[in-house]
Symmetry: C2
Protein backbone atom coordinates (compact mmCIF):
# COMPACT_ATOMS: atom_id res chain seq x y z
CA UNK A 1 0.00 0.00 0.00
CA UNK A 2 1.22 3.49 -0.68
CA UNK A 3 1.70 6.02 2.01
CA UNK A 4 1.44 9.75 1.59
CA UNK A 5 3.03 11.69 4.44
CA UNK A 6 0.59 14.08 6.07
CA UNK A 7 1.53 17.26 7.95
CA UNK A 8 2.13 16.74 11.65
CA UNK A 9 -0.94 16.37 13.75
CA UNK A 10 -1.95 18.97 16.25
CA UNK A 11 -0.99 17.71 19.70
CA UNK A 12 -2.60 18.42 23.05
CA UNK A 13 -1.32 20.93 25.58
CA UNK A 14 1.47 20.32 28.11
CA UNK A 15 5.20 20.76 28.58
CA UNK A 16 6.01 17.37 26.99
CA UNK A 17 4.11 18.29 23.84
CA UNK A 18 5.62 21.77 23.81
CA UNK A 19 9.04 20.10 23.73
CA UNK A 20 7.96 17.77 20.93
CA UNK A 21 6.53 20.71 19.00
CA UNK A 22 9.89 22.46 19.43
CA UNK A 23 11.72 19.44 17.99
CA UNK A 24 9.29 19.27 15.06
CA UNK A 25 9.90 22.94 14.32
CA UNK A 26 13.66 22.34 14.23
CA UNK A 27 13.42 19.25 12.07
CA UNK A 28 10.95 20.76 9.59
CA UNK A 29 10.22 18.45 6.68
CA UNK A 30 12.74 15.94 7.98
CA UNK A 31 10.07 14.66 10.38
CA UNK A 32 6.86 13.35 8.88
CA UNK A 33 3.46 12.48 10.17
CA UNK A 34 4.36 12.61 13.87
CA UNK A 35 1.58 12.26 16.40
CA UNK A 36 -0.13 8.89 16.25
CA UNK A 37 0.46 6.02 18.65
CA UNK A 38 2.55 4.44 15.91
CA UNK A 39 3.94 5.66 12.60
CA UNK A 40 2.86 4.22 9.28
CA UNK A 41 5.93 3.19 7.28
CA UNK A 42 6.32 3.79 3.58
CA UNK A 43 5.99 0.72 1.41
CA UNK A 44 9.33 0.14 -0.32
CA UNK A 45 10.57 -2.68 -2.52
CA UNK A 46 13.55 -4.66 -1.22
CA UNK A 47 14.59 -6.25 2.03
CA UNK A 48 13.69 -4.23 5.11
CA UNK A 49 16.20 -4.15 7.95
CA UNK A 50 15.95 -2.58 11.41
CA UNK A 51 18.33 -1.83 14.28
CA UNK A 52 18.29 0.06 17.56
CA UNK A 53 21.24 1.71 19.31
CA UNK A 54 21.58 3.62 22.58
CA UNK A 55 23.93 6.51 23.33
CA UNK A 56 24.29 7.23 27.04
CA UNK A 57 26.07 10.04 28.86
CA UNK A 58 29.04 8.81 30.91
CA UNK A 59 28.95 5.50 29.03
CA UNK A 60 29.39 6.49 25.39
CA UNK A 61 30.59 10.06 25.86
CA UNK A 62 31.26 12.75 28.44
CA UNK A 63 29.75 16.16 28.15
CA UNK A 64 33.14 17.85 28.61
CA UNK A 65 34.41 16.13 25.45
CA UNK A 66 31.92 17.09 22.79
CA UNK A 67 29.19 19.64 22.19
CA UNK A 68 25.48 18.84 22.48
CA UNK A 69 25.22 19.05 18.70
CA UNK A 70 28.03 16.51 18.39
CA UNK A 71 26.24 14.23 20.84
CA UNK A 72 23.47 14.26 18.27
CA UNK A 73 25.64 13.69 15.19
CA UNK A 74 27.46 10.88 16.94
CA UNK A 75 24.30 9.15 18.17
CA UNK A 76 22.60 9.31 14.78
CA UNK A 77 25.71 8.22 12.90
CA UNK A 78 26.31 5.28 15.23
CA UNK A 79 22.75 4.04 14.78
CA UNK A 80 22.67 4.58 11.02
CA UNK A 81 26.01 2.84 10.60
CA UNK A 82 24.28 -0.44 11.43
CA UNK A 83 22.30 -0.04 8.21
CA UNK A 84 25.49 0.64 6.25
CA UNK A 85 26.88 -2.60 7.65
CA UNK A 86 23.95 -4.51 6.14
CA UNK A 87 24.29 -2.80 2.78
CA UNK A 88 20.99 -1.00 3.39
CA UNK A 89 19.80 2.49 2.47
CA UNK A 90 18.42 4.43 5.50
CA UNK A 91 14.72 5.19 5.28
CA UNK A 92 13.01 5.85 8.63
CA UNK A 93 14.25 6.80 12.11
CA UNK A 94 12.62 6.80 15.56
CA UNK A 95 14.29 8.73 18.38
CA UNK A 96 13.70 8.03 22.08
CA UNK A 97 15.17 10.73 24.33
CA UNK A 98 15.68 10.50 28.10
CA UNK A 99 16.31 14.05 29.26
CA UNK A 100 17.43 15.13 32.74
CA UNK A 101 16.73 18.69 33.84
CA UNK A 102 20.37 19.69 33.17
CA UNK A 103 19.99 18.71 29.50
CA UNK A 104 16.70 20.45 28.82
CA UNK A 105 18.27 23.52 27.21
CA UNK A 106 20.69 21.41 25.16
CA UNK A 107 18.05 19.13 23.66
CA UNK A 108 17.53 21.36 20.64
CA UNK A 109 21.20 21.25 19.77
CA UNK A 110 21.24 17.46 20.09
CA UNK A 111 18.21 17.34 17.80
CA UNK A 112 19.98 19.58 15.26
CA UNK A 113 23.01 17.29 15.21
CA UNK A 114 20.82 14.22 14.71
CA UNK A 115 18.83 16.01 12.04
CA UNK A 116 21.95 16.89 10.09
CA UNK A 117 23.05 13.25 9.87
CA UNK A 118 19.57 11.88 9.19
CA UNK A 119 19.07 14.42 6.41
CA UNK A 120 22.42 13.49 4.85
CA UNK A 121 21.32 9.85 5.01
CA UNK A 122 18.17 10.62 3.04
CA UNK A 123 16.00 9.24 5.84
CA UNK A 124 12.99 10.68 7.68
CA UNK A 125 12.11 10.88 11.36
CA UNK A 126 8.79 9.08 11.80
CA UNK A 127 8.40 8.76 15.55
CA UNK A 128 9.99 8.66 18.94
CA UNK A 129 9.57 8.99 22.66
CA UNK A 130 10.39 11.60 25.26
CA UNK A 131 10.86 10.90 28.94
CA UNK A 132 12.62 12.50 31.85
CA UNK A 133 15.31 10.52 33.64
CA UNK A 134 18.40 10.96 35.75
CA UNK A 135 20.85 10.55 32.88
CA UNK A 136 20.82 11.72 29.28
CA UNK A 137 20.36 9.01 26.70
CA UNK A 138 19.07 8.73 23.19
CA UNK A 139 17.98 5.40 21.74
CA UNK A 140 17.78 5.58 17.97
CA UNK A 141 15.90 3.00 15.92
CA UNK A 142 16.69 2.93 12.22
CA UNK A 143 14.94 1.20 9.33
CA UNK A 144 16.51 0.70 5.97
CA UNK A 145 15.97 -1.08 2.70
CA UNK A 146 18.54 -3.27 0.95
CA UNK A 147 18.67 -4.92 -2.43
CA UNK A 148 20.71 -7.61 -0.74
CA UNK A 149 21.14 -7.63 3.06
CA UNK A 150 24.59 -8.80 4.16
CA UNK A 151 24.94 -10.28 7.64
CA UNK A 152 27.92 -11.52 9.60
CA UNK A 153 27.60 -15.24 9.00
CA UNK A 154 28.59 -15.78 5.40
CA UNK A 155 32.40 -15.39 5.39
CA UNK A 156 33.99 -18.17 3.32
CA UNK A 157 37.45 -19.67 3.49
CA UNK A 158 39.55 -17.94 0.84
CA UNK A 159 37.71 -14.61 1.01
CA UNK A 160 39.77 -11.46 1.45
CA UNK A 161 39.06 -9.23 4.44
CA UNK A 162 38.69 -5.53 3.59
CA UNK A 163 38.10 -2.44 5.66
CA UNK A 164 37.00 1.08 4.67
CA UNK A 165 38.68 4.32 5.75
CA UNK A 166 41.50 5.03 8.20
CA UNK A 167 41.42 3.45 11.62
CA UNK A 168 42.29 4.47 15.14
CA UNK A 169 40.76 7.94 15.48
CA UNK A 170 38.08 7.40 18.10
CA UNK A 171 40.38 5.27 20.24
CA UNK A 172 43.08 7.93 20.11
CA UNK A 173 40.55 10.64 21.05
CA UNK A 174 39.31 8.63 24.01
CA UNK A 175 42.86 7.95 25.18
CA UNK A 176 43.73 11.63 25.01
CA UNK A 177 40.62 12.70 26.91
CA UNK A 178 41.20 10.02 29.53
CA UNK A 179 44.74 11.38 30.01
CA UNK A 180 43.25 14.87 30.45
CA UNK A 181 44.68 16.02 27.11
CA UNK A 182 43.12 17.29 23.90
CA UNK A 183 42.98 14.86 20.99
CA UNK A 184 44.18 15.86 17.53
CA UNK A 185 41.55 17.52 15.38
CA UNK A 186 41.44 14.42 13.17
CA UNK A 187 40.94 12.00 16.05
CA UNK A 188 38.40 14.27 17.70
CA UNK A 189 36.38 14.57 14.50
CA UNK A 190 36.36 10.83 14.04
CA UNK A 191 34.80 10.46 17.49
CA UNK A 192 32.41 13.41 17.41
CA UNK A 193 31.21 13.24 13.83
CA UNK A 194 31.67 9.76 12.37
CA UNK A 195 30.46 9.35 8.79
CA UNK A 196 28.48 6.17 8.19
CA UNK A 197 29.46 4.36 4.99
CA UNK A 198 26.08 3.76 3.38
CA UNK A 199 27.15 4.09 -0.22
CA UNK A 200 30.27 2.06 0.47
CA UNK A 201 28.22 -0.64 2.22
CA UNK A 202 25.81 -0.85 -0.68
CA UNK A 203 28.76 -1.14 -3.08
CA UNK A 204 30.30 -3.94 -1.01
CA UNK A 205 26.95 -5.75 -0.93
CA UNK A 206 26.59 -5.36 -4.70
CA UNK A 207 30.13 -6.68 -5.16
CA UNK A 208 29.13 -9.90 -3.43
CA UNK A 209 30.47 -9.34 0.09
CA UNK A 210 29.84 -12.55 2.02
CA UNK A 211 29.82 -10.91 5.47
CA UNK A 212 29.90 -7.34 6.69
CA UNK A 213 29.99 -5.49 10.02
CA UNK A 214 30.80 -2.02 11.24
CA UNK A 215 33.85 -1.91 13.48
CA UNK A 216 32.08 -0.15 16.36
CA UNK A 217 33.66 -2.61 18.80
CA UNK A 218 37.04 -2.25 17.07
CA UNK A 219 38.50 -4.27 14.18
CA UNK A 220 39.75 -6.95 16.53
CA UNK A 221 36.44 -7.60 18.28
CA UNK A 222 34.29 -7.19 15.20
CA UNK A 223 36.43 -9.48 13.07
CA UNK A 224 35.90 -11.89 15.97
CA UNK A 225 32.13 -11.51 15.63
CA UNK A 226 32.30 -12.31 11.91
CA UNK A 227 34.57 -15.28 12.62
CA UNK A 228 32.25 -16.63 15.33
CA UNK A 229 29.11 -16.17 13.22
CA UNK A 230 30.69 -17.68 10.11
CA UNK A 231 32.57 -20.53 11.78
CA UNK A 232 35.88 -19.46 10.27
CA UNK A 233 39.06 -17.63 11.25
CA UNK A 234 39.89 -14.16 10.06
CA UNK A 235 43.66 -13.91 9.77
CA UNK A 236 44.52 -10.21 9.90
CA UNK A 237 47.82 -8.58 9.08
CA UNK A 238 48.48 -5.68 11.46
CA UNK A 239 51.05 -4.29 9.00
CA UNK A 240 48.33 -3.71 6.44
CA UNK A 241 45.86 -1.83 8.65
CA UNK A 242 45.03 1.61 7.18
CA UNK A 243 46.19 3.85 10.00
CA UNK A 244 45.05 7.39 10.70
CA UNK A 245 47.71 10.05 11.29
CA UNK A 246 49.87 9.22 14.31
CA UNK A 247 48.06 5.92 15.01
CA UNK A 248 49.84 2.64 15.76
CA UNK A 249 48.58 -0.69 14.47
CA UNK A 250 47.93 -2.18 17.90
CA UNK A 251 45.75 0.80 18.78
CA UNK A 252 43.93 0.83 15.46
CA UNK A 253 43.12 -2.85 15.99
CA UNK A 254 41.29 -2.11 19.23
CA UNK A 255 39.86 1.34 18.58
CA UNK A 256 36.10 1.12 19.05
CA UNK A 257 33.33 3.68 18.51
CA UNK A 258 34.54 3.49 14.93
CA UNK A 259 32.10 3.35 12.02
CA UNK A 260 34.15 1.99 9.19
CA UNK A 261 33.03 -1.26 7.56
CA UNK A 262 34.82 -4.59 7.62
CA UNK A 263 33.73 -7.03 4.93
CA UNK A 264 34.74 -10.38 3.53
CA UNK A 265 34.76 -10.57 -0.25
CA UNK A 266 35.34 -13.55 -2.56
CA UNK A 267 38.97 -13.27 -3.73
CA UNK A 268 37.99 -13.52 -7.39
CA UNK A 269 35.69 -10.51 -7.09
CA UNK A 270 38.15 -8.23 -5.32
CA UNK A 271 40.05 -6.77 -8.27
CA UNK A 272 36.91 -5.58 -10.00
CA UNK A 273 35.60 -4.15 -6.72
CA UNK A 274 38.86 -2.31 -6.10
CA UNK A 275 38.94 -0.78 -9.58
CA UNK A 276 35.37 0.49 -9.31
CA UNK A 277 36.00 1.68 -5.76
CA UNK A 278 38.82 4.02 -6.67
CA UNK A 279 36.68 5.56 -9.39
CA UNK A 280 33.76 6.13 -7.01
CA UNK A 281 34.79 6.71 -3.41
CA UNK A 282 37.22 9.06 -1.73
CA UNK A 283 37.51 6.79 1.30
CA UNK A 284 40.10 4.02 0.84
CA UNK A 285 39.34 0.30 0.78
CA UNK A 286 42.17 -1.83 2.15
CA UNK A 287 42.78 -5.56 2.22
CA UNK A 288 43.81 -6.42 5.79
CA UNK A 289 43.66 -10.19 5.79
CA UNK A 290 42.12 -13.42 4.60
CA UNK A 291 39.55 -15.93 5.78
CA UNK A 292 40.98 -19.30 6.76
CA UNK A 293 39.50 -22.51 8.10
CA UNK A 294 39.03 -22.98 11.82
CA UNK A 295 41.45 -25.26 13.55
CA UNK A 296 39.89 -28.70 14.07
CA UNK A 297 39.20 -28.15 17.76
CA UNK A 298 37.63 -25.46 19.86
CA UNK A 299 35.14 -24.06 17.41
CA UNK A 300 31.88 -25.63 18.46
CA UNK A 301 30.71 -23.34 21.27
CA UNK A 302 30.16 -19.63 20.60
CA UNK A 303 32.65 -18.45 23.22
CA UNK A 304 35.21 -20.79 21.77
CA UNK A 305 34.28 -19.96 18.23
CA UNK A 306 35.28 -16.43 19.04
CA UNK A 307 38.76 -17.72 19.65
CA UNK A 308 38.79 -18.65 15.98
CA UNK A 309 39.77 -15.07 15.45
CA UNK A 310 43.51 -14.92 15.00
CA UNK A 311 44.40 -12.01 17.19
CA UNK A 312 47.89 -11.01 16.14
CA UNK A 313 48.84 -13.67 13.68
CA UNK A 314 52.23 -13.49 11.99
CA UNK A 315 51.97 -11.01 9.16
CA UNK A 316 50.95 -12.74 5.98
CA UNK A 317 52.89 -11.99 2.82
CA UNK A 318 51.77 -8.84 1.06
CA UNK A 319 48.95 -9.54 -1.35
CA UNK B 1 10.88 -11.10 -0.59
CA UNK B 2 10.41 -13.94 1.81
CA UNK B 3 12.40 -14.29 4.94
CA UNK B 4 13.26 -17.55 6.63
CA UNK B 5 14.44 -17.11 10.22
CA UNK B 6 17.82 -18.67 10.84
CA UNK B 7 19.11 -19.91 14.19
CA UNK B 8 20.93 -17.27 16.21
CA UNK B 9 24.43 -16.55 15.12
CA UNK B 10 27.38 -17.45 17.22
CA UNK B 11 28.64 -14.30 18.93
CA UNK B 12 32.12 -13.36 20.05
CA UNK B 13 33.41 -13.63 23.61
CA UNK B 14 32.87 -11.08 26.38
CA UNK B 15 30.54 -10.25 29.26
CA UNK B 16 28.13 -8.28 27.06
CA UNK B 17 27.71 -11.21 24.69
CA UNK B 18 27.41 -13.64 27.60
CA UNK B 19 24.48 -11.54 28.82
CA UNK B 20 22.90 -11.51 25.37
CA UNK B 21 23.39 -15.28 25.08
CA UNK B 22 21.64 -15.62 28.45
CA UNK B 23 18.67 -13.60 27.19
CA UNK B 24 18.51 -15.67 24.01
CA UNK B 25 18.47 -18.85 26.07
CA UNK B 26 15.53 -17.52 28.11
CA UNK B 27 13.57 -16.36 25.08
CA UNK B 28 14.14 -19.51 23.05
CA UNK B 29 12.24 -19.50 19.76
CA UNK B 30 10.66 -16.17 20.66
CA UNK B 31 13.84 -14.45 19.47
CA UNK B 32 14.89 -15.00 15.89
CA UNK B 33 17.99 -14.40 13.89
CA UNK B 34 19.76 -12.24 16.48
CA UNK B 35 23.32 -11.19 15.83
CA UNK B 36 23.69 -9.00 12.75
CA UNK B 37 24.11 -5.24 12.79
CA UNK B 38 20.45 -5.01 11.81
CA UNK B 39 17.60 -7.50 11.65
CA UNK B 40 15.91 -8.47 8.42
CA UNK B 41 12.14 -8.04 8.79
CA UNK B 42 9.64 -10.50 7.43
CA UNK B 43 7.72 -9.33 4.39
CA UNK B 44 4.04 -9.09 5.30
CA UNK B 45 1.06 -7.79 3.37
CA UNK B 46 -0.72 -4.78 4.85
CA UNK B 47 0.23 -1.45 6.33
CA UNK B 48 3.37 -1.54 8.48
CA UNK B 49 3.37 0.57 11.64
CA UNK B 50 6.14 1.20 14.16
CA UNK B 51 6.45 2.77 17.59
CA UNK B 52 9.02 3.11 20.35
CA UNK B 53 8.39 3.47 24.07
CA UNK B 54 10.70 3.87 27.08
CA UNK B 55 10.15 2.55 30.60
CA UNK B 56 12.46 4.14 33.16
CA UNK B 57 12.99 3.34 36.84
CA UNK B 58 11.86 6.17 39.13
CA UNK B 59 9.93 7.73 36.24
CA UNK B 60 7.51 5.01 35.19
CA UNK B 61 7.78 2.71 38.18
CA UNK B 62 9.61 2.16 41.46
CA UNK B 63 11.31 -1.05 42.24
CA UNK B 64 9.55 -1.33 45.60
CA UNK B 65 6.20 -1.43 43.82
CA UNK B 66 6.51 -4.28 41.38
CA UNK B 67 8.72 -7.28 40.71
CA UNK B 68 11.40 -7.35 38.04
CA UNK B 69 9.22 -9.70 36.03
CA UNK B 70 6.36 -7.20 36.26
CA UNK B 71 8.70 -4.43 35.10
CA UNK B 72 9.08 -6.53 31.98
CA UNK B 73 5.38 -7.31 31.47
CA UNK B 74 4.51 -3.66 31.97
CA UNK B 75 7.18 -2.35 29.61
CA UNK B 76 6.29 -4.77 26.83
CA UNK B 77 2.56 -4.23 27.25
CA UNK B 78 2.93 -0.45 27.20
CA UNK B 79 4.92 -0.55 23.98
CA UNK B 80 2.70 -3.10 22.26
CA UNK B 81 -0.41 -1.18 23.23
CA UNK B 82 0.60 1.50 20.72
CA UNK B 83 0.07 -1.10 17.99
CA UNK B 84 -3.34 -1.99 19.38
CA UNK B 85 -4.23 1.70 19.20
CA UNK B 86 -3.52 1.68 15.46
CA UNK B 87 -5.52 -1.49 14.87
CA UNK B 88 -2.29 -3.35 14.09
CA UNK B 89 -1.21 -6.91 14.80
CA UNK B 90 2.20 -7.09 16.57
CA UNK B 91 4.93 -8.68 14.50
CA UNK B 92 8.49 -7.73 15.53
CA UNK B 93 10.06 -6.25 18.67
CA UNK B 94 13.48 -4.71 19.43
CA UNK B 95 14.52 -4.28 23.05
CA UNK B 96 17.17 -1.76 24.22
CA UNK B 97 18.18 -2.30 27.84
CA UNK B 98 20.18 0.12 30.00
CA UNK B 99 21.30 -1.91 33.01
CA UNK B 100 22.99 -0.57 36.15
CA UNK B 101 25.03 -2.95 38.26
CA UNK B 102 22.21 -3.24 40.81
CA UNK B 103 19.88 -4.61 38.11
CA UNK B 104 22.23 -7.15 36.62
CA UNK B 105 20.80 -10.12 38.49
CA UNK B 106 17.23 -9.01 37.80
CA UNK B 107 17.64 -8.68 34.04
CA UNK B 108 16.62 -12.27 33.37
CA UNK B 109 13.35 -11.80 35.23
CA UNK B 110 12.63 -8.60 33.31
CA UNK B 111 13.32 -10.50 30.09
CA UNK B 112 10.94 -13.28 31.15
CA UNK B 113 8.17 -10.76 31.79
CA UNK B 114 8.69 -9.13 28.41
CA UNK B 115 8.86 -12.50 26.73
CA UNK B 116 5.53 -13.56 28.23
CA UNK B 117 3.73 -10.54 26.77
CA UNK B 118 5.50 -10.66 23.42
CA UNK B 119 4.68 -14.35 23.05
CA UNK B 120 1.03 -13.69 23.88
CA UNK B 121 1.06 -10.97 21.23
CA UNK B 122 2.27 -13.42 18.60
CA UNK B 123 5.33 -11.27 17.90
CA UNK B 124 9.04 -12.11 17.73
CA UNK B 125 12.11 -10.42 19.19
CA UNK B 126 14.38 -9.53 16.26
CA UNK B 127 16.99 -7.25 17.80
CA UNK B 128 17.99 -4.89 20.54
CA UNK B 129 20.77 -3.19 22.39
CA UNK B 130 22.47 -3.61 25.74
CA UNK B 131 24.34 -0.89 27.59
CA UNK B 132 25.28 -0.10 31.13
CA UNK B 133 24.03 3.10 32.69
CA UNK B 134 23.22 4.66 36.04
CA UNK B 135 19.49 3.96 35.88
CA UNK B 136 17.48 1.01 34.62
CA UNK B 137 15.51 1.61 31.46
CA UNK B 138 14.12 -0.44 28.63
CA UNK B 139 13.20 1.13 25.32
CA UNK B 140 10.97 -1.16 23.32
CA UNK B 141 10.41 -0.71 19.60
CA UNK B 142 7.44 -2.53 18.14
CA UNK B 143 6.45 -3.19 14.54
CA UNK B 144 3.00 -4.29 13.51
CA UNK B 145 0.87 -4.85 10.46
CA UNK B 146 -2.63 -3.49 9.97
CA UNK B 147 -5.30 -4.05 7.36
CA UNK B 148 -6.32 -0.47 8.05
CA UNK B 149 -4.20 1.76 10.32
CA UNK B 150 -6.28 4.11 12.45
CA UNK B 151 -4.64 7.33 13.67
CA UNK B 152 -5.85 10.12 15.90
CA UNK B 153 -6.88 12.64 13.32
CA UNK B 154 -10.05 11.30 11.76
CA UNK B 155 -12.73 11.88 14.43
CA UNK B 156 -15.88 13.29 12.81
CA UNK B 157 -18.64 15.38 14.28
CA UNK B 158 -21.48 13.02 15.19
CA UNK B 159 -19.24 10.03 15.98
CA UNK B 160 -19.71 8.27 19.29
CA UNK B 161 -16.72 8.01 21.67
CA UNK B 162 -16.14 4.51 23.03
CA UNK B 163 -13.64 3.07 25.48
CA UNK B 164 -12.65 -0.52 26.23
CA UNK B 165 -12.40 -2.09 29.68
CA UNK B 166 -12.72 -0.66 33.17
CA UNK B 167 -10.82 2.51 34.03
CA UNK B 168 -8.93 3.88 36.99
CA UNK B 169 -6.81 0.96 38.12
CA UNK B 170 -3.28 2.22 37.47
CA UNK B 171 -4.09 5.66 38.87
CA UNK B 172 -5.50 4.11 42.04
CA UNK B 173 -2.44 1.89 42.40
CA UNK B 174 -0.10 4.86 42.04
CA UNK B 175 -2.08 6.90 44.55
CA UNK B 176 -1.95 4.08 47.07
CA UNK B 177 1.80 3.57 46.66
CA UNK B 178 2.41 7.29 46.90
CA UNK B 179 0.48 7.30 50.20
CA UNK B 180 2.66 4.42 51.42
CA UNK B 181 -0.25 1.98 51.24
CA UNK B 182 -0.87 -1.19 49.27
CA UNK B 183 -3.23 -0.91 46.30
CA UNK B 184 -6.07 -3.37 45.84
CA UNK B 185 -5.14 -6.51 43.93
CA UNK B 186 -7.23 -5.33 40.96
CA UNK B 187 -5.60 -1.90 40.81
CA UNK B 188 -2.14 -3.38 41.29
CA UNK B 189 -2.68 -5.88 38.51
CA UNK B 190 -3.85 -3.16 36.16
CA UNK B 191 -0.56 -1.31 36.74
CA UNK B 192 1.82 -4.26 36.81
CA UNK B 193 0.35 -6.42 34.06
CA UNK B 194 -1.74 -4.36 31.65
CA UNK B 195 -3.26 -6.33 28.79
CA UNK B 196 -2.96 -4.59 25.41
CA UNK B 197 -6.16 -4.72 23.38
CA UNK B 198 -4.88 -5.94 20.01
CA UNK B 199 -7.89 -7.98 19.01
CA UNK B 200 -10.20 -5.25 20.24
CA UNK B 201 -8.23 -2.59 18.34
CA UNK B 202 -8.39 -4.63 15.15
CA UNK B 203 -12.16 -5.05 15.62
CA UNK B 204 -12.61 -1.31 16.13
CA UNK B 205 -10.55 -0.61 13.01
CA UNK B 206 -12.61 -3.12 11.02
CA UNK B 207 -15.81 -1.50 12.32
CA UNK B 208 -14.72 1.79 10.77
CA UNK B 209 -13.31 3.65 13.81
CA UNK B 210 -12.36 7.13 12.59
CA UNK B 211 -9.74 7.76 15.31
CA UNK B 212 -8.18 5.61 17.99
CA UNK B 213 -5.67 6.04 20.83
CA UNK B 214 -4.64 4.17 23.92
CA UNK B 215 -5.39 6.04 27.14
CA UNK B 216 -1.84 5.84 28.47
CA UNK B 217 -2.00 9.53 29.39
CA UNK B 218 -5.48 9.07 30.87
CA UNK B 219 -8.87 9.40 29.17
CA UNK B 220 -8.92 13.15 29.70
CA UNK B 221 -5.55 13.87 28.10
CA UNK B 222 -5.86 11.29 25.35
CA UNK B 223 -9.33 12.44 24.32
CA UNK B 224 -7.66 15.85 24.13
CA UNK B 225 -5.03 14.47 21.76
CA UNK B 226 -7.73 13.06 19.47
CA UNK B 227 -9.64 16.35 19.64
CA UNK B 228 -6.54 18.40 18.79
CA UNK B 229 -5.48 16.12 15.94
CA UNK B 230 -9.00 15.93 14.50
CA UNK B 231 -9.97 19.58 15.02
CA UNK B 232 -13.11 18.66 16.95
CA UNK B 233 -14.35 18.50 20.52
CA UNK B 234 -14.92 15.25 22.38
CA UNK B 235 -17.78 15.76 24.80
CA UNK B 236 -17.45 13.12 27.47
CA UNK B 237 -19.98 12.14 30.09
CA UNK B 238 -18.27 11.32 33.38
CA UNK B 239 -21.38 9.45 34.53
CA UNK B 240 -20.90 6.91 31.76
CA UNK B 241 -17.23 6.08 32.39
CA UNK B 242 -16.73 2.35 32.99
CA UNK B 243 -15.24 2.41 36.47
CA UNK B 244 -13.12 -0.26 38.08
CA UNK B 245 -14.04 -1.45 41.59
CA UNK B 246 -13.86 1.44 44.09
CA UNK B 247 -12.87 4.01 41.45
CA UNK B 248 -14.49 7.45 41.15
CA UNK B 249 -15.17 9.08 37.80
CA UNK B 250 -12.86 12.03 38.35
CA UNK B 251 -9.99 9.66 39.07
CA UNK B 252 -10.81 7.35 36.17
CA UNK B 253 -10.75 10.38 33.86
CA UNK B 254 -7.15 11.17 34.80
CA UNK B 255 -5.70 7.73 35.47
CA UNK B 256 -2.72 7.28 33.17
CA UNK B 257 -0.45 4.28 32.54
CA UNK B 258 -3.68 2.72 31.35
CA UNK B 259 -3.79 0.63 28.19
CA UNK B 260 -7.44 0.61 27.26
CA UNK B 261 -8.43 2.01 23.87
CA UNK B 262 -10.50 5.10 23.18
CA UNK B 263 -12.02 5.29 19.72
CA UNK B 264 -14.46 7.40 17.78
CA UNK B 265 -16.94 5.43 15.69
CA UNK B 266 -19.57 6.64 13.20
CA UNK B 267 -22.88 6.62 15.06
CA UNK B 268 -24.58 4.53 12.40
CA UNK B 269 -22.02 1.76 12.77
CA UNK B 270 -22.11 1.53 16.54
CA UNK B 271 -25.08 -0.84 17.03
CA UNK B 272 -23.60 -3.49 14.79
CA UNK B 273 -20.19 -3.08 16.44
CA UNK B 274 -21.71 -3.45 19.91
CA UNK B 275 -23.65 -6.59 19.01
CA UNK B 276 -20.58 -8.26 17.54
CA UNK B 277 -18.46 -7.11 20.46
CA UNK B 278 -20.54 -8.81 23.12
CA UNK B 279 -20.37 -12.05 21.18
CA UNK B 280 -16.58 -11.85 20.86
CA UNK B 281 -14.88 -10.06 23.74
CA UNK B 282 -15.01 -10.42 27.50
CA UNK B 283 -13.80 -6.85 28.00
CA UNK B 284 -16.66 -4.29 27.88
CA UNK B 285 -17.04 -1.56 25.26
CA UNK B 286 -18.72 1.57 26.61
CA UNK B 287 -20.02 4.73 24.94
CA UNK B 288 -18.66 7.63 26.99
CA UNK B 289 -19.44 10.62 24.79
CA UNK B 290 -19.87 12.14 21.38
CA UNK B 291 -17.81 14.19 18.94
CA UNK B 292 -19.05 17.76 18.47
CA UNK B 293 -17.85 20.71 16.43
CA UNK B 294 -15.23 23.05 17.79
CA UNK B 295 -16.45 26.43 18.99
CA UNK B 296 -15.84 29.05 16.30
CA UNK B 297 -12.83 30.53 18.07
CA UNK B 298 -9.73 29.21 19.68
CA UNK B 299 -9.14 26.12 17.61
CA UNK B 300 -6.43 27.12 15.18
CA UNK B 301 -3.25 26.65 17.20
CA UNK B 302 -2.37 23.24 18.59
CA UNK B 303 -2.21 24.37 22.20
CA UNK B 304 -5.58 25.98 21.83
CA UNK B 305 -6.94 23.12 19.80
CA UNK B 306 -6.29 21.00 22.85
CA UNK B 307 -8.78 23.15 24.72
CA UNK B 308 -11.35 21.81 22.31
CA UNK B 309 -11.57 18.92 24.70
CA UNK B 310 -14.56 19.42 26.92
CA UNK B 311 -13.15 18.57 30.29
CA UNK B 312 -16.13 18.03 32.53
CA UNK B 313 -19.05 19.01 30.33
CA UNK B 314 -22.56 18.71 31.70
CA UNK B 315 -23.60 15.07 31.43
CA UNK B 316 -25.27 14.45 28.10
CA UNK B 317 -28.57 12.54 28.11
CA UNK B 318 -28.18 8.78 28.23
CA UNK B 319 -27.85 7.36 24.77
Amino acid sequence: MSHTPRPHQAMGAGAEFDTIRGLMARWGDLAVDIGDDAAVLPDSPGVRVISTDACVEEVHFRRAWISAREVGTRAAAAALSDLAAMGARPESVLIAFMVPEAWRDALGDVADGMGEVIRAAGARIVGGNLTRGSVFSVTTTVLGVANRAVGRHGAQVGDVVVVTGLLGGPGAALEAWNRGESPTAWARGRFAAPVPRWAEGAALAAAGATAMIDVSDGVLADAGHVAAASGVQLRLDPARLPLGPGIEAANAMQSGEEYELLATVPANRYDRLAAGWRATFAVPLTVIGTVVACPPTGATRPAEGAQGFDHFAPPSPPR
